[in-house]
């Protein structure tokens, strides 16, 4: 082991940490700052990390920057929720609006590998109709990509991550078999299953990005349930231990602890590189293309921060839509108690799922859909959930004694894109001296109806599953998307289907911000599929001389 990864960069001196071996290193190519690399990518998460890998594998010269540290899971991930806060993006941000969201552990990560380092591994495909939700379903906006093409890329990502999923999936068009078999269900998942069967709807083991059998040096899942605090066995297949090692092997350079503060643009209106802060000073890397992949808050923030005389409203912003149409997903839950011990924290948190209300269109008084999953909150998160409910002192103590018996169902619900939900710059500055992001959020009536429907249905299903003393957690959100949407019209979108900005041809966006709509499933599989597609498109454009 070497030094403190939060203070001393690890991707240096021609080598990178080999996260699959204790104390291991692997050679890494390094590019000089004054050489214009083909692609400078800001962010190494689901979007940036995947893209860096696929571009490097196509032979492009790539540098990917991440503000976060390059962790070694086998050595540095403790079974301690508080300690593992080190994975989250906790830099200052302002949240306002009618329904201000809470930022921190449930939304965004700051590490090489991005939020996937501590994501819950739920790996779902969009419902095909959602790619044309405006024209087919009558709400939101159409994607400029056909679902069949996306399904091809989903397959590629599922294979890359060796997703463990059910032999047959109950919803949507037929899909190929998941590369690994689904995991054993824990008692909490059984409650969801029993409830669903009682309610007469389908349920399924959740397709998860954690190994149900060994894979190379990565161990299979040990069912300890620490997933959202970072997986110390490498069973979780993430950007950190799949895409990034592949990227490095293919010749990409990853610069950790490197915060990009500005994308530089010349007189001709083209990007020339990025300004970044690393090892105590601001530095400049030249690049022929810049890809912003900082997730739905940091991406628009960086585009706005990079405003200059030529683009006073921020980069790629001729539509005025940078930062607009920011979407969360509703993440409300119902909780209850079972007579028998459940110990819901055993195993990955969301082992069973129903997507019934994503695919059913009848019996709804709202647009959009939602999935709900079984839950396994760790003690600290569970305590916070209880204090949010107003419990304290004796009452809290009493409630916590039921920890081993509690069981719950949590939704991932679609919210509609609204221009008033947006990311803007605040006056306050962060540690780097850069204006911080202001996140404005409010639900619309449709969102509220969807949430009410979900809470009502989940309550009944939990009751049918055998739980008692059921109560609702009404105010959680998860997953950040939108804020730099893709589309087929420069007036109503920021980038095209390839993630290329309409305004600056060598500026690209590749992360959750390009989503025109969010659907009712967790987004990272879609983000990675888009990244793979973007890489292929870049390959095609380069071959045609259209880069």
């Amino acid at each position: 082991m070497s030094g403190d990864p939060q203070h001393e960069p690890r991707g240096k001196n021609g080598r990178a940490p080999d996260v699959l071996r204790v104390g291991g290193w692997m050679p890494m190519r390094e590019y000089p700052q004054n050489e214009a690399v083909d692609f400078a990518i800001v962010g190494t998460g689901a979007g940036g990390g995947t893209l860096a890998c696929r571009l490097a594998e196509k032979g492009f010269k790539v540098i990917a920057f991440d503000a976060g540290a390059w962790w070694r899971p086998l050595e540095e991930f403790a079974s301690d929720e508080s300690h593992q806060k080190k994975l989250f993006w906790t830099d200052e941000r302002l949240c306002d609006g009618e329904d201000p969201i809470k930022l921190g552990n449930n939304n965004s990560g700051k590490a090489v590998g991005g939020s996937m380092v501590h994501f819950a591994m739920v790996s779902l495909r969009f419902r095909p109709e959602w790619f044309k939700s405006r024209s087919i379903l009558g709400y939101g906006a159409d994607w400029p990509i056909d679902w069949r093409e996306m399904w091809r890329y989903y397959r590629i990502v599922e294979n890359a991550l060796k997703i463990s999923g059910p032999v047959t999936y109950p919803w949507g068009p037929k899909r190929g078999r998941y590369p690994y078999r689904a995991h054993e269900l824990n008692a909490a998942a059984m409650v969801l299953a029993r409830g669903a069967e009682e309610m007469g709807i389908a349920w399924s083991p959740t397709p998860l990005s954690t190994l149900s059998a060994p894979r190379g040096l990565a161990h299979p899942c040990a069912y300890r349930g620490f997933c959202v605090s970072g997986c110390s066995t490498n069973a979780k297949q993430s950007t950190l231990n799949v895409w990034i090692p592949r990227a490095v092997k293919a010749g990409a350079e990853i610069r950790d602890l490197a915060m990009v503060g500005r994308v530089a643009v010349n007189e001709a209106g083209l990007c020339t590189g990025v300004d970044y802060f690393r090892e105590g000073r601001w530095q400049f890397q030249r690049a022929k293309h810049v890809v912003v992949a900082g997730y739905a808050i940091e991406t628009p923030r960086l585009l706005l921060l990079s405003a200059n005389g030529r683009f006073p409203e921020g980069l790629a912003n001729s539509s005025g839509l940078v930062g607009k149409n920011f979407m969360v997903q509703s993440n409300q839950a119902v909780w209850g108690l079972m007579d028998e011990e459940i110990r819901a924290y055993k195993g990955p948190p969301s082992l069973a799922i129903t997507e019934h209300w994503n695919y059913a269109d009848k019996g709804k008084d709202f647009f959009g859909g939602y999935a709900y999953m079984s839950q396994g909150p760790l003690p600290v998160v569970w305590t916070l959930t209880q204090t949010k409910r107003g419990l304290w002192g004796e009452a809290l103590l009493k409630e916590m004694q039921h920890y081993n018996h509690q069981v719950g169902l949590k939704m991932v619900g679609e919210t509609l894109p609204q221009e008033r939900n947006c990311i803007t710059l605040a006056d306050e500055k962060d540690a780097y001296g850069l204006p911080i992001a202001r996140v404005t959020h409010a639900y619309c009536d449709n969102d509220r109806r969807l949430i009410e429907h979900a809470l009502d249905f989940m309550g009944k299903a939990l009751d049918a599953g055998g739980a008692k003393d059921i109560w609702r957690e009404t105010d959680d959100t998860c997953h950040l998307n939108g804020s730099a949407r893709m589309g087929s019209d420069p007036r109503t979108s920021v980038v095209n289907a390839d993630g290329r900005s309409w305004d600056i041809p060598n500026l690209w966006i590749c992360d959750g911000s390009v989503f025109p709509t969010v659907g009712g499933v967790n987004p990272s599989l879609t983000i990675q599929a888009i990244a793979c597609r973007t890489a292929d498109r870049i390959g095609v454009l380069a071959a045609r001389g259209e880069l």
Partner: protein, 308 residues
Amino acid sequence: MTNNRMRWAGIACILAGVAATAAVMERPQQRRLCKRARQVHIETSRAFNRSSALLAGSVLADSAMEHYRGSFSNPVMYVPPLVATFSILAGLHGGADRHAQTHTVRHAIYWGAALTGLAGTGFHVYNVMKRPGGWNWNNLFYAAPMGAPTALLLSGALGAAAERLRNQPARAPRLLGMPAGRALGLLSGIGLAGTAAEAWLLHFRGSFQHKAMYAPVSIPPAASALLLHAALTSPQPRWLARVMLRMTWLVGWLGLAFHVRGVARHHGGWRNWSQNLFNGPPVPAPPSFAAMALAGLAALRLREREPR
């Protein structure tokens, strides 16, 4: 968890395994002697006794571990390891016994094992059916396994067949109203196919992540098919069946080695044996192929010598 109890259970399992293996090892010196002095059907009986013991060894280790994992939550969960132990003892005894006569106690033990296996299968089916989803893949993978109690049933059946064969005349012995070679060929052929089916289910669960995982779902089924063919067609030398059965025997022992290595691939490896023995591939399972191969080879030997 009491570590001590675990350790004793572990040691007991290992001892039982070693004893079973030692018992079934054929000593060539002795064999040649036997060939001259004894009748072939007694040799076959003894091979079946040994095979039954080895299979029971697998069952003992497996059921002791798995039911320990299930905290012996139902007292009947003590029964299979106990019965398997008796089955091993009977097999050891029968393997050394050259008498041309059914041994009543052994015979009774074998029937007990077979019935326990049958009841166990019933329990396990019930366990699968009462879970949400019922007869679905996830339950077949992770609920009480079908294959385990059937192995006990099979061990009992092999032993009982051995005992009944001893009472038959040396010339043209018969079982279940057919030539003994045919009956035993069918029994071991079907048993082998069942064992392979279980390996397929569990290796499918493991997504065939290692190439070697294809071996037990290709070689033993081929051996089983050839053996069944030999049993059903007119008797004659079947070298290919013999080769495949010997390879099946090898698959069993190599499988053991692969499973030992498979445990090491779990987080913490063998240093964390008290957890990884349960999470990893079942170490005692593959030798059941060796057991079935032993039975199959003995049945084939008998079959090849039966009158046309």
